[in-house]
Symmetry: C2
Subunit: 390 residues, 2 copies
């Protein structure tokens, strides 16, 4: 079976002005992907949302005004990206990875550098130990090579060990390096040359972090989420207990993607994590064919293109509710009722709506205010809790 | 959890005279366990069946009379067993392994030597490569030791490698060595000392082959069947593709027993078989706890004793149909119709009954005749085919 080189392009490009507004919005304080999407839902566009941000966060109880990224900030970042040979792809745009679009809290803007065709090809994630065994690295390369040969782009995290082996074996056929920091801050240093090979060939570097962002330990789980989100399946070659690769596997499972795990000796700590994945139902993987056959049903043209059907860009699609929101702006007593309905234990937003008897749009708006004020914690798509004072 | 030391004894002992008759019947030409059981079904006792054997095989078309073991033959084997410190346990007797009783074609008589209490304790089979790796042997010993500590008897095949490690680690707590030849013909020679340790302690040697039988390559699958039949579950530690351990695993799965497989590197041929078992749904086993927890539901007193409930000995239980059979002995034309209904492709006995319109007892009797004449091939419990001329 030979896969198509790339998915049918679809979606509508953002204007340069929209891109600036999107970048400002996602770079503003307390705005993550979920908040971003809800803001667009309520205000119809990033520009309209930006205007309301200070007022919203004040109503939500922010001690001081949240920082809203300025036009100058956004232009500076965009400028830096262009100088670096990179750009940003918005979630409604044709070059946005189709599988990533499907996940909860997909990044609205992805910084990308390299061959954009790689972004829309079906992807296999390959991850594993940084201190891989020789046979682990060999096996990762085998899978990457054979998956590349049948048309998959191989996505990994540019780390030492398994990641490096997977990227190297797929430089020719196309590979995506997901970074934990800004595109201009690759890690580890010894893989800067490899990253250059990747982005100057058929591959791509991607990041959801701002340019110039130095990756910290806590940014890596987010990078792992990106690997899982971009990919139809993830192969974990070697992984110790509680390692980052298991986080990637968890995300993949949560996103409904396939998880392939390579078995290994119970007496080798590098295999504890992968063996545990097998116990949890991951696909036993002892040859590249196991991966390729497992992915085949997901990668057929008809199914893969389902992920990437024509749809209006996010701003148009979401404009209708905005007007409604304006008409039903909640008062202070409504706000108090909603806050009272929340607690430190995550609760479903639908339950908050039922419990308070308020309109859905009022509840969403108050939640947005709390969110922007740093008072709300989001747990997945529909669960929220109040940030407990500390 | 600590298991009971042994199952509640049940069943009725065979008289010495019955034991001689059983031994004669099972050692006669063309009488395997299934034929043995059908003969007892039809004739009510081994003695009655023995009288009819020559006539049955003649009617079935045997070119020359089949050899029926004489009383002297049986007495000689029994004598040899006793001299050797061994004895025979019949399928209805209290010391017969309760799990083995449940399988299709369970051996009617088992030659045993050692501590008979081991025969009725819940058993875990442990098998694997003869050329085991050091870590494989270590892991086998770990499982054997911990399973022994909670009350399991460990059953294996006395082979080099994994089997040896499993037996050695459970000599103190009790281990069963299933042999491919007679009890007096252990293999391999270097494990004769180990076998002596086993049978002089809390362990047992078992065999379904005659005393003095030198094991040939083709006897080993039968030995593997015994290991699986005796055990509630079988752990396969290391196994190459197409190895004997996989035969044990197949039998265990067929018997509805648990199959535990230890994962290993896809690049180590000793792990190909075990990894394949994992792909087929065997339990991923990375610690003794995986085995012990897996077996726990099968080993609780109430469940295990279900395998071993009070029941009349096989000869009494089966005596009623014998009279009926005598009344409906089939004629030559019936025999011809049955033979016509059979072919080289296995067919269900029930279909033969329906197809010919003859009574079940007539059909079973003709099948017995063909069987004893070496004309019938049995495939599992209910499928038969005619032996094609060659």
């Amino acid at each position: 079976m030979m896969l198509r080189g790339s998915a049918r392009p679809s979606g509508t490009a953002l204007t340069e002005r929209q891109k600036i507004a999107w970048l400002r919005l996602i770079r503003s304080d307390n705005v993550g992907p979920a908040t971003f999407r809800d803001l667009i839902n309520h205000f119809g566009s990033a520009e309209a949302a930006l205007e309301s941000l200070p007022e919203l966060s004040r109503r939500g109880g922010a001690g001081r005004a949240i920082r809203v990224a300025s036009v100058a900030d956004a232009e500076r970042e965009l400028e830096a990206a262009y100088r670096f040979g990179a750009t940003f792809v918005g979630i409604g745009e044709p070059d946005y990875p189709p599988a990533l679009k499907e996940i909860d809290g997909a990044p609205p803007l992805l910084a990308v550098k390299g061959d954009l065709k790689a972004a829309t090809r079906p992807s296999l994630g390959i991850v594993g130990s940084r201190n891989a065994s020789a046979s682990g690295a060999k096996f990762a390369a085998m899978i990457a090579r054979e998956a590349g040969a049948v048309g998959y782009v191989v996505t990994s995290g540019l780390a030492r060990g398994i990641d490096t082996a997977a990227h190297r074996a797929s430089v020719e056929t196309g590979t995506i390096a997901a970074l934990a920091g800004g595109l201009d801050r690759p890690y580890p240093p010894e893989n800067v040359g490899l990253l250059q090979e990747i982005t100057s060939g058929a591959g791509l570097a991607i990041s959801e972090m701002p340019f110039g962002w130095e990756p910290r330990a806590r940014d890596f789980p987010r990078r792992n989420r990106l690997i899982a989100g971009v990919s139809l399946g993830v192969a974990i070659i070697e992984a110790a207990s509680r390692s980052g690769s298991l986080i990637t596997a968890r995300y993949a499972a949560d996103f409904g993607r396939l998880v392939f795990a390579v078995p290994g000796s119970p007496l080798d700590p590098r295999c504890h994590g992968t063996n545990d994945l097998l116990k949890q139902g991951a696909t036993v993987t002892t040859s590249p064919a196991d991966v390729i056959e497992g992915l085949a049903p997901l990668s057929r043209d008809d199914l893969f293109s389902r992920l990437d059907m024509e749809e209006p860009p996010i701003e148009e699609r979401r404009s209708a509710p905005a007007a409604a929101t304006a008409r039903t702006a909640p008062g202070d007593s409504d706000r108090a009722r909603i806050v009272e309905a929340l607690g430190p234990t995550p609760v479903e937003i639908d339950d908050v709506i039922r419990h308070t008897g308020l309109s859905a749009s009022s509840v969403y708006l108050v939640l947005l205010e709390l969110d922007l004020a740093g008072q709300l914690c989001r747990h997945g798509a529909n669960l929220v809790s109040i940030v407990s004072g500390e």
